[in-house]
């Protein structure tokens, strides 16, 4: 569904991505794990059109979307729940939801109203707070609102950047329950996480991103959770016992020694 081929991108003079190649299968949950500074958020921002890649291509549903502006990417059906900048704080919950549906508000008001009801059925806690300013919600509620708003755009691909960041363990459980529910309802999900334990429980396929390159691609179970955690949290050097899929990756493996 989403094909990323050899993407390189930089933040100012710092090269954050050095040729990342990966793909997201339709109907699945794909996770991207990696330590801080590996380039996960940069990759999300590049797909969303906020950063322009220096080289490489991004295609979505067989159409090239490289270098498209963010509003264009959203129109193609990709919604991003960004890290840390979740909601419009001075707008109430309902207004935040509607914000996600502006593209279709002119055409199908009734459908948008129906979607609001759907979203409220899924997130009853948001319904209780319809008129509350989004900035006064708890961290978990803001995360839910951000996910709910992204759903209002009826995306074909939902990208989430660290949805568990800074949330209490119980809230994290709830967020991941929501991710499972969304997937069960047919949403394709591309998830960036640091919480490898939770991510490996929901992922159908996962990638490890280390120092701007994909260093592992495979299914949960192909790499022990222990090793994933070591590499995803600590950026620990790869062990000798690499799985076969590891070597299939064009640019990830065997780059660092010692």
């Amino acid at each position: 569904m989403l094909e990323i081929d050899g993407i390189a991108a930089s933040y100012g003079n710092i090269q954050a991505l050095r040729g990342v190649t990966l793909s997201v299968e339709e109907g699945g949950i794909t996770c991207l794990l990696g330590p801080n500074g590996a380039g996960k958020t940069t990759l999300m921002m590049t797909i969303a059109g906020i950063l322009k890649p220096r080289r490489g291509t991004i295609s979505f549903l067989d159409r090239n979307i490289t270098g498209m502006r963010p509003s264009g990417v959203v129109r193609r059906g990709i919604a991003l729940v960004p890290e840390n900048r979740l909601v419009f704080p001075h707008m109430n919950v309902h207004e935040n939801l509607i914000a996600g549906a502006y593209l279709r508000l002119g055409k199908s008001k009734a459908q948008v109203r129906q979607d609001v009801d759907h979203v409220f059925a899924r997130f009853p806690r948001l319904q209780e707070r319809t008129k509350q300013l989004a900035g006064t919600l708890s961290g978990g509620e803001q995360q839910m609102l951000a996910v709910a708003r992204a759903l209002m755009a009826r995306p074909r691909l939902l990208m989430m950047d660290e949805p568990s960041l800074g949330l209490a363990p119980l809230v994290v459980e709830e967020i991941f329950r929501i991710i499972r529910d969304l997937h069960a309802d047919g949403t394709t999900i591309f998830l960036v996480e640091q919480n490898a334990h939770m991510a490996l429980q929901v992922a159908h396929h996962f990638y490890l991103l280390e120092q701007g390159q994909v260093s592992f691609s495979g299914k949960p179970g192909q790499l022990s959770e222990h090793e994933v955690i070591q590499r995803a949290y600590l950026g620990k050097q790869q062990g000798r016992d690499q799985s076969a899929t590891d070597r299939d990756q064009p640019d990830g493996t065997m780059l660092r020694s010692g």
Binding site: A48, I50, S71, H90, M91, I98, G100, L103, A153
Partner: protein, 303 residues
Amino acid sequence: MDDIYLVTVVSNIGMISFIALSAYLLLVVGEISFGQQAFFAVSAYGSGIATAMWGWPIWLGLLWGALLAGAAALVVAIPTVRLRGLYFSVATLAFAEMVRLIFEIFTYQVEIDGELVGPDGSDGFRDIRAIYDSNVSAFEYMLIIYGLLAVVLIGFLILERSRLGAIFRMIGEDPMLTEMQGLNVTVYKILAVVMAGVVAGIGGALYAHLATYVEPKIFNVMLGVHALAYGLIGGLGTAFGPLIGVAIDIGLLESIRAISGYRMIVFGGLVALLLIVRPRGLLDEAAVHWLRGRWRELRRATH
């Protein structure tokens, strides 16, 4: 009404309200403009030329001035709207100073009834006498000012409840997150700058005809700074905010003679204090939200 001083003060509050609303609209989309006085000036000159030199009726002169200001705003918007924060502010300031300096050298005069009429560089533009020639009294003109202000204010209140108004607020809160909702932020910002230009223009045209005389130095940066401060004092949660700011400054500080000498000191202090205590003004978003909640309760209780 014979208290001409009071009429003048009230008229001034009305005219300055337009430029305050103009700066407020840009504050809503998250931009600080130090240059709204430029659009005020363009319209003051443009409408004055239309009525005093070309003999247009007043209403057409006002319309022409406002449209001219909107066009000038479009010229400014296209190259500057991609600039953020300080860069946008500096660009608007530079443009406004450019406009002022152009009027310092702009001379365009024709002879009417044996007298030269029209802008004469730094000597200004005299005899914009349309309202006196058509026997509109100061009191009637005040009513015209407030009639137009009411129209613009109603426009703002409708905007606040509209989709466009919500998009403007979203851009003000987080342009990148707005873009991620599939909205082209650049286009909406250009629209906001043009709308703000037109609103400032209405004020400028009204001003030129009340004063009958305009000169470039009236439109210096202090006018724009005040326009900006009115929204910051009164609040950015509703269009009534900047009007409160104008009422406090011109209604109280400038017009009460005992304290008018200290106006700038008190005004500056007030801005500094509010920026610390209430960074988004007296009627900020939270206050407006609270008021709307109380209003809903009240209506429910009475029904």
